[in-house]
């Protein structure tokens, strides 16, 4: 029979390296470029800024890793975030007229945010599975719906959190624990939880199996619809967490909140090595991808070398290059 027994896995491991190292190499390259461009780039203040900032997209992208590795896609995350933020702010402002226990207000706001995000994810999941409609279309539709709703709630303007509430809520974005900003800690915890769930639980295996081959998953006693719905709910919960961190930062929500976050989140996931067609997800890569995207923005803010108008072009080139490093080269290798 087969005598692959002599197999020495030397070759495959080498090509695997590129997949792992591709995004990391891009990250390091960007760090080096940044350090050359500005001496303050490697200051701990700047590095913490970058980490803190990447928390939003990073947390959302962790959820997107689940959705994408289950073979789906969610275009609605940006407007979902805006809508969640809007409702949270309205609720907290309203409660201020009812009670003056501010911490209760903040906690209620956070709980409501978690509920709305997860509920929105549930809705996406149900429309996709029960409705039998492509994820792309469902989430394109809900993207428009949530965006409209927040515009409607804000009456075309901006919903702003009352400053009394904001005072207590501020530390969730601006505070730190042992020198680490709270958003960074939450990002790290979300990444850790995402990694554990995706790689070390039955559910995580099921998610990736559904993405790899839905029929096989169904024949293996996996309730594929439920797995998909849960993946969208995780995405919703991640959006909620990102929003909970976001609200104290700017204290407001409007029709423009979260525009294009979906593309950034998807880009982070794919730069990180997850396959868009599903079946395979890697949280560590996603975190790297989110950091790369934030770094590009940061570096562009550091220099006058390039016309402002060309920022988008630089981003585009780096995104393509980062994925080429990982896919194109590793393909050549094998």
């Amino acid at each position: 029979m087969t005598d692959i027994t002599q197999a020495k896995p030397a070759r495959p491991r080498f090509s695997l390296d590129w997949k792992l190292l591709g995004p990391l190499a891009a990250l390091v390259l960007l760090l080096v470029i940044g350090a050359f461009l500005n001496e303050n780039f490697l200051s701990s203040a700047n590095l913490l800024n970058i980490l803190t900032r990447s928390a939003f997209i990073g947390i959302i992208a962790i959820g997107a890793t689940f959705v994408i590795s289950s073979g789906g896609i969610d275009l609605s995350v940006g407007s979902m975030a805006a809508f969640t933020a809007g409702v949270m702010i309205l609720l907290m402002n309203w409660m201020l007229g009812v009670t003056d226990v501010v911490w209760l207000i903040v906690l209620t706001g956070i709980a409501a945010g978690a509920l709305i995000g997860t509920g929105a994810g549930l809705l996406n999941g149900l429309l996709i599975t029960r409705g039998g409609i492509e994820a792309f279309i469902v989430t394109l539709g809900t993207m428009g719906i949530y965006r409209s709703l927040v515009t409607y709630l804000a009456d075309g303007g901006t919903l702003s959190l009352d400053s009394d509430v904001r005072g207590l809520y501020r530390p969730v974005y601006y505070g730190d624990i042992l020198g680490l900003p709270v958003p960074v800690i939450l990002f790290a915890l979300a990444a850790l939880a995402g990694w554990i769930v995706l790689n070390n639980t039955a559910f995580g295996r099921h998610v990736q199996s559904v993405g790899a081959n839905e029929d096989v998953a169904r024949y293996s006693a996996i309730n594929t619809d439920r797995v998909k719905v849960f993946a969208y709910m995780i995405q919703g919960a991640c959006v909620a967490l990102a929003t909970i961190v976001y609200v104290p930062r700017l204290g407001s929500a409007s029709a423009t909140t979260g525009v294009l976050w979906e593309l950034e989140a998807i880009a982070a996931v794919i730069i990180g090595g997850t396959l868009l067609k599903g079946g395979y997800g890697r949280i560590g890569g996603t975190v790297t991808g989110a950091l790369i995207l934030t770094l590009i923005g940061n570096i562009l803010n550091l220099t006058d070398l390039i016309s402002n108008y060309l920022n988008g072009a630089v981003q585009g080139v780096i995104i393509i290059a980062a994925v080429f490093l990982q896919r194109g080269l590793s393909r050549k290798q094998s």
Partner: protein
Amino acid sequence: MNAPVDREPLLAGQGLRKSYGPVEVLHGVDFDVRPGEVHALLGENGAGKSTLVKILSGFVAPSAGTLTFDGAPITFPTMRAAEEAGIVLIHQEFNLAELRTVEENIFLGRELRRGLFLDKAAMRAEARRLLDELHCMAPETARVADLPVADKQMVEIAKAMSRKARILFLDEPTAVLTKAETATLFTLIRRLKAEGVGIVFISHKLDEVEEIADRITVLRDGELVETVPAHGVSPDDMARMMVGRELTDFYPHIPAPGPDAETLLAVESLAAPGVRDASFTLRRGEVLGFAGLQGAGRTAVMEALIGLHPATGGRISLRGQDVRFTDVAQSKAARIAYLTKDRKGKGLLLGNDLVWNFSLFSLEKFAKPLIDRGAERAAFDAAAARVDLRAASPSLTAGSLSGGNQQKLLLAKVLETDPEIIIIDEPTRGIDVGAKSQIYGFIAELASQGRGVIVLSSELPEIIGLSHRVTVMQSGRTTGCLEGDAINEEDIMRLASGLAARSAA
């Protein structure tokens, strides 16, 4: 029949080697095809048959070795180059675009045109003609996805025929065909042979090889064993050449369950998608065969039973209790397991590793709630040893296993849940003689442990050799049940074609 053997080879390979990564799977094989002969290629699963014909047909490049065509050295830089040389390969796995129609698939890549545009009428007519010749009734305008497997195979054959081959490689074309369909194919092969086409035929059904082959080449572990004229070589000889030892006890003796054996499962008048009226029972320690023509509804009954397509009527009683499952998780919890006949499409995640596939059906055992990888790996090693799964490393992908090892992996996967009722659909499709008898051995062992085993098969000898009782289906109905000495090919066929009246349930 011996005449072609003396002719000059049309296509020949010398010293062909092939490595996948660091693993060499073909170790310098010589092989040739002569015009007007049927050259059978035999070997166990994973011996390298498919690899060899893929190299010969320009489908993959050899790592070493040379090809000569019409006496001159040749390489095939693209698939088109091979096609233009008149070399056609029918792959072991279906190579059809499922979303497209039969006619489109047949003419894919070499569409007939009138000027710039497609000549659809001509292609439809030609497709119809080819299918009729194969006695295939599939409409040429149907989507391939909607066809039963046998028709898909016929579409593959029609596609190959339409390509006016000088050399035709057939990699296990008969695995999914009935006797009658195989006979049609053989008529066609004989005609092509008469026209001077060189044919390479791969099959694990050794009686077919005896019937059609002019020469036989046997591979073992990627090495050439020998090439001999087929005349006078019996299936037993072939098996011995393949395995390198004598094969005994092909069908194991499985003790029949005692008269007081508990009835595990009783199904009455089941109705479901593809099933009109099915009734049968299964007892502990029993092997129940399910026979019928293709599309008779055997698979549909089992898929309804386990909850994939919930039943719409009738009764299912499990260990005396009425049940109706609406998803597979419920039937799994009730200790029923089903092994699909579609290993690649529905059974295994071809891109994932062996351990991942192995534990997919029984993950909750290892997830508490985090997956205990040590326990998972240990269970895999134990199960791999139990079913004699041969693979270099558990980190290989399931897709790189040979058919027999894939079937064993699938068996290990479902057995890990310790089911009491095991339903195996086409247990030996595409599986070599050695692995076949191993799988029969597992079935016997499962029955002797007091489990109930249902075997769905299109191979009558297999059904007869294994089963204590045989339920026969026709057009979505169970038409009868044969028991003990009453089990014979003729009666099964009568029930399967609806000729005999329903005798028992």
